[in-house]
């Protein structure tokens, strides 16, 4: 059907305070998790009879673990925001495994908190890269995957 009058526009969207999303936040946190995991695995245990060395070692290891814990939780929080707020039911048409992608990524965040696993830390990075790709594809933009570390 053709019309002699120009179409006008009408809104059918959400007025909520949303709209600014970027998977970079999750990626940075995941990189911090991987960095702390690497540092924890590389930290050499000193002579256990040297109290000063042991104190420094335990302090450093404790700080690494705390940062790893915090960043893994931050990564999970950022992923869940993307999952629940940015992605909508209509995205399932083009990304039918969307829920599995986020479920697995969130579980990797938990695994990285529980363990000191370089394998799971890398899997978390890979999951964030996959989410980076589907996120920008959903927005119709080509944004390269770049790591800070």
């Amino acid at each position: 059907m053709t019309y002699s009058i120009e179409p006008i526009e009408a809104e059918a969207h959400c007025d909520g305070p949303c709209g600014v999303y970027d998977p970079a936040s999750a990626r940075i946190a995941a990189e911090a998790v991987q960095s702390m995991t690497t540092k924890m695995l590389a930290l050499e245990c000193p002579d256990t009879t040297n109290s000063a060395s042991m104190a420094a070692y335990l302090n450093t290891m404790g700080r690494y673990a705390t940062i790893k814990e915090d960043e893994a939780q931050k990564c999970k929080d950022e992923l869940l925001i993307l999952w629940s707020d940015f992605f909508k039911p209509n995205h399932l048409d083009s990304i039918p495994n969307l829920h599995d992608i986020f479920w697995n990524a969130a579980k990797l965040c938990s695994a990285c908190k529980v363990e000191v696993s370089s394998a799971h830390a890398q899997e978390l990075i890979d999951a964030c890269e996959e989410i980076h790709n589907i996120f920008w594809a959903a927005k119709g933009l080509e944004v390269p995957w770049i790591r800070a570390s």
Partner: protein, 107 residues
């Protein structure tokens, strides 16, 4: 052109709140002034003035009709954060309904 009743007007829709019935960028047709002579019905998709933003026109579906011919509007998108509707801006008076949207089956 929306001041002229009994006229059809093409509308370009921005947003996904009416997905899957109407997708972002779809063009639909509005029967302007339809509710001046016809009572609103549950299920109708309508073009109306945003109750809190008079310069904005929105497209939603009538889900309930209350006393005083006020209607409760909802988006079709099942995601509650994908639509701003009567959950946020309340009931809409019949006078604010600019027209009925004609929905053609998707191919």
């Amino acid at each position: 052109m929306l001041d002229t009743p009994n006229q059809t007007c093409p509308i370009i829709v921005n947003g996904d709140s009416m997905w899957p019935t109407i997708c972002d960028g779809d063009q639909v047709v509005c029967e302007v002034g339809y509710y001046e002579s016809t009572k609103p019905r549950v299920g109708d998709v309508v073009l109306c003035i945003h109750p809190l933003k008079p310069s904005v026109r929105v497209i939603k579906r009538i889900s309930q009709i209350h006393s005083g011919a006020r209607v409760f509007l909802k988006g079709d998108n099942p995601d509650p954060i994908a639509t701003t509707d009567s959950h946020a801006f309340g009931l809409v008076a019949r006078e604010q309904l600019l027209g009925r949207i004609l929905i053609s089956p998707k191919s």
